[in-house]
Subunit: 363 residues, 2 copies
């Protein structure tokens, strides 16, 4: 039924070993023979059986990608970048989404990656020490995005410095009452993004001698709804903030919605800065910190491929930058202040500034 290596060998008049060598491009085959083999293979429309070659060689030519959410913007971008690099390098991508605790538990109990992949890419997954140990036990190169751990490849951004930049932008505009919407306390040891961003916020505030008022650090669960709820809470404080740093654009956009529903104007009443530069950020004119998502996926994929090629483990940080748009401006009380920060590049949105908005009055 299906044509196998023997058929090709017969047609080409060589042994199966030679067919195998020729088709994999090994050097110890004469050009003449290789041509004959390739011609025979083409004529028979032969494709080698991956199961058979995996069994015989022990290599799967497959990379496993594990991600918590496949449907969210950031993960989609990272996945797109990683998949493209792997596909173009001839690797298959085996995908595992772990959207909830049950899925995580099941995954680490059955370890479906065992004997199935040559390398694993972990996308921003909060890992416990034990889970990381289990992944290590797979005995294949590990790559991670936003997860720092010894002896595994990783790419990421400087969350702390980026959060400082965001906060400094608000401070430099003259704000003094600046709140933060972030993620809750993370239990996972190796997932430090929310903590780092929080620390960056705190550092910037401390350096400017500004207090973090009670109730100014809220959990927005990294969702728009969470951001909206957090903003509502902030607005009910005795001294509501004049500016908010949201740890993600989704939360920032949720916060903007809360303001709109309250009849308040962003940025005139409250300035908001987000984080990510989600595709929708430009559409809602959101000032934010841009992080290159797809590029991080590409880099992480290249790193594990390099490890597979025998190169040493690498760690890479990609740069972020402040993207100025229309949701931040000086507070009503203050005069404009120079806005500058050494650690990242400030830049106007290439699309150009949008016309300033009038505050909408609530009904």
């Amino acid at each position: 039924m299906t044509v196998d290596i023997d058929d090709v060998a017969k047609l080409a008049g060589v042994s199966t070993a030679t067919v195998s060598r020729a088709m994999r491009g090994l050097p110890n085959v004469s050009e003449k023979t290789r041509r004959r083999v390739m011609a025979a293979a083409a004529e028979l429309d032969y494709v080698s059986s991956p199961s058979a070659s995996r069994l015989a060689s022990g290599h799967t030519h497959t990379v496993g990608i594990v991600a918590p959410y496949l449907g969210r913007w950031f993960f989609g971008q990272v996945l797109a970048g990683a998949e493209r690099v792997l596909r173009e390098s001839g690797y298959d991508v085996l995908l595992f989404g772990l959207p909830d605790d049950a899925a995580v538990a099941d995954f680490f109990e059955r370890m479906p990656l065992r004997r199935r992949v040559d390398a694993v890419l972990v996308l921003t997954l909060p890992l416990t020490v034990e889970q990381l140990r289990q992944l290590r036990q797979l005995g294949v190169p590990l790559g991670a995005i936003g997860v720092q751990a010894p002896n595994i490849c990783m790419v990421g951004i400087d969350d702390l410095a980026s959060a400082r930049t965001a906060t400094n932008h608000l401070i430099n505009l003259g704000h003094r009452r600046i709140a933060m919407i972030g993620g809750g306390d993370s239990i996972a040891t190796h997932f430090i993004t929310p903590d780092d961003r929080r620390d960056g916020y705190r550092q910037a505030m401390a350096e400017a001698d500004l207090p973090v008022l009670p109730g100014y650090e809220l959990d927005g669960s990294y969702t728009a709804d969470g951001g909206e709820a957090a903003m509502v809470e902030l607005l009910s404080l005795p001294h509501p903030p004049t500016a908010v740093f949201a740890q993600s654009d989704e939360m920032a956009i949720g916060a903007m919605r809360a303001l709109r529903r309250c009849g308040l104007s962003c940025p005139v009443d409250v300035s908001i800065i987000g984080f990510d530069d989600h595709e929708m950020a430009s559409l809602v004119d959101l000032t934010t910190i841009r992080q290159p998502a797809e590029q991080q996926g590409e880099l992480a994929a290249k790193q594990v491929l390099a490890c597979l090629g025998g190169e040493p483990v690498r760690h890479e940080l990609v740069p972020t930058r402040l993207v100025l748009r229309g949701t931040t401006c000086p507070p009503r009380s203050a005069a404009g202040v120079d806005d500058a920060d050494g650690s990242t590049t400030d830049s106007r949105d290439p699309a150009g500034p949008t016309p300033p908005r009038r505050p909408t009055t609530g009904d």
Copy 2:
């Protein structure tokens, strides 16, 4: 080094065949033996080699998923739904993104799915007749989303009726000059989404005796930038529309941006309705047609699994519905008209209406 089926057999005091049967849950094994085998396997931390069992059995327990864009919202949602169902059914997911012509060409030339998967899921990929033929030649069940073809599973929506609903909504509000932003002419025979939505628009217009003015059908490439460009063109017509039906939320949001940049108000100057109910639609308060993306992924996955179980090919349409938000209202000239449509359920956004906006004046 790695423990194999023989080790387990020895420890359990049975033959390898029995181990194989016991571990796969085949019926012809006594409970006592099965327990002994499972205990031995657990003690040795044994996991069977997928390559070996695939080679021996011919089954891969893997489903290939092919999608044009992994990073876009709709595909992320569908992928999340499909992956979850497949994972929970014990199937591996092999992922292929085909973002550009080169990737498509390469994919269909090398056919990396051959001998690698038990079924294939195609997500909204414009397929030529020849490409579809090649997929069929894989000899495995095929499932598709938004791609109609004989004898393959498919889930989708009624694009034509949904587009009519969208257009009728604008008509019922009293609009007469209604334009459409869609996709260009599709070359692919089996990818009829843009054409169906266009036909729905045309039908609704014709039934209401409204003309489709010259220049009222534009290509927005299904991107925000394309939508913005199309809107700019519409605004430069001798008789600009008072309402626009965009075939996707991304294009709708781009069109909204164009209006904002021109100092025009949505919906007071121009009403806009989108399509999809993208997560951002509620955040920018966009009236739209909701289609359940994740659910379509789940259904398609279930369909191919059913085919794998010997059931016949199925076709399923999932319902869409009009979601009323703040970007549509009667045109300036007209009095309000009753808005009703029998084919779908009209509903207020559960989050409730937002306060009406004042038109912003351009500077």
